[in-house]
C-alpha cells in the first residue's frame, strides 16, 4: 500500500513533525496535502525545521536524505513524505 493511503503511517509522520518541531498543535491540524513549508502554510515552518525533520527521519527510520532537492520533494506534504517512506 502506498504511504499516502496508509492513515497510520501518516499519523506517525504528523506526530514526528509535531514532536521534532515542537509544534503546539493536534495531528488533525496538519492537512495531508497541505504544503509543509509554504509561506501559505499555517505551520510556519522554515529551513531549520526542514533540517530538524530530516535528522528526525534519519534517527527514526534510518533513512538519510543527503540531497536538498530530494529533501524538498519529500517533505512537500504529509502525503509526499508518506509515499517516500512507503512507495508501495
Amino acid at each position: 500500500m502506498k504511504g499516502s493511503l496508509d492513515q497510520k503511517l501518516k499519523n506517525e509522520i504528523k506526530a514526528l513533525i509535531i514532536e521534532s518541531c515542537e509544534l503546539d498543535i493536534e495531528l488533525s491540524q496538519i492537512d495531508d496535502d497541505c504544503p509543509l513549508f509554504s509561506p501559505k502554510s499555517d505551520l510556519g515552518l522554515d529551513s531549520i525545521d526542514a533540517l530538524q525533520i530530516s535528522i528526525a527521519i534519519q534517527n527514526t527510520y534510518g533513512i538519510a536524505i543527503r540531497d536538498s532537492k530530494q529533501m524538498r520533494r519529500v517533505v512537500k506534504s504529509v502525503n509526499t513524505f508518506a509515499d517516500f517512506l512507503q512507495p508501495e
Partner: protein, 290 residues
Amino acid sequence: MYIHNYSMFVSPPVDDISFYKQEINRYTNLKFRRANKFVLLSLAGAWQCAHGRAIQPDTAVYLTTENGNLGDTETVLDQIYHKREFPMPYNFINTMSNTASFYVAQSFDIVGRNLTFSSKQLSFERGLELLRSDMGAGVVKDALFGGVDEGSFSKSQFEAKYERSFYDYHMIEGSCWLLIKAENTGALGEITAVESFGSLRPTMDWLKRQRFARPLILSFGLLIDDGQKKSFGKAVPHEAQFDYIHSCGYFDSATACGVSGFFDRYEKACLVHINKDFRGQFMVVAVEKY
C-alpha cells in the same frame, strides 16, 4: 550608569520548559518555539525587567553567564559522541553562545550592541565594567543587562569546584536583569562604582576610603570566606549584611540576584557587593538606591 528597573526571576531547577514559557507569556504573547531552557530562562528575566518600561530601539543587550547553554551543549555532545548521531539542529543552534541574547534582542525588536559575556566567577562584574566603558564612549545609551545561569550542579560537581558543602546551599537557577541607562531621569538608583583589584589588601584600602550618602549594606560572592567577610565588615561601618545566597539560593550568576535583591528589599540605601574569582582577583560593585 542609572538603574531604571530590575528583575529577579529565580526558581528551583525545572526540567519542563513549559514553566518558563508560561512565565514569559505573563509579559508577552510572542511564541518561542525552538528556544531551549537557557534561552527561555533569559527571556523570562529580561521580559520581567522590561515590563512597564519603554525599551528604545537602540537598546543594547549584555547577557552575562558563567556556564551559558550548558544543558543543550551536553545534549549535543551526547548526540555526537555517545549516540553517534548528527546533533539535532535546534539543539545545535541553541549551543551557540549568543543565541539567548539574540532571542532577547529579537523579542524586543531592538538592534543595539548584543553581547554574551563570561569571565570565571566574575562574569556579572566584568560585564558591568564593559558596559561602563561602552557607555563612557557613548556607543551605548540604554542596556538590558542580565546575569543568567541554569541550576546545573550535582553534589560532586559543586563540592569539587567550590570546596564547600553542597547541603549548605539551596541550588536555584536564575535570570536577573537590570535596565541600565546613561540618562538619570526616572531612575531607581545608580551604579556608583565597579572596581577591580589584584588582591584583598587594595580592595580593603579602597573600601576604607569610600563615603556613602545612605546606609550601607554589604554583600559577598560565594568565594569570599567568613574571615574575609569579617574583615570587610570591620573596615567600613555598615547597617547590615545582605546574604542573598542564603535568602534566595545559589546559581552561578548569583551576583545579579544580589543586586536585584537589594533593589527589591532595601529603600534609600547603598550596596557594596564584593566578589572574587579563583585566582584571588577581587571586584566590587557599588550601587545606590534612591
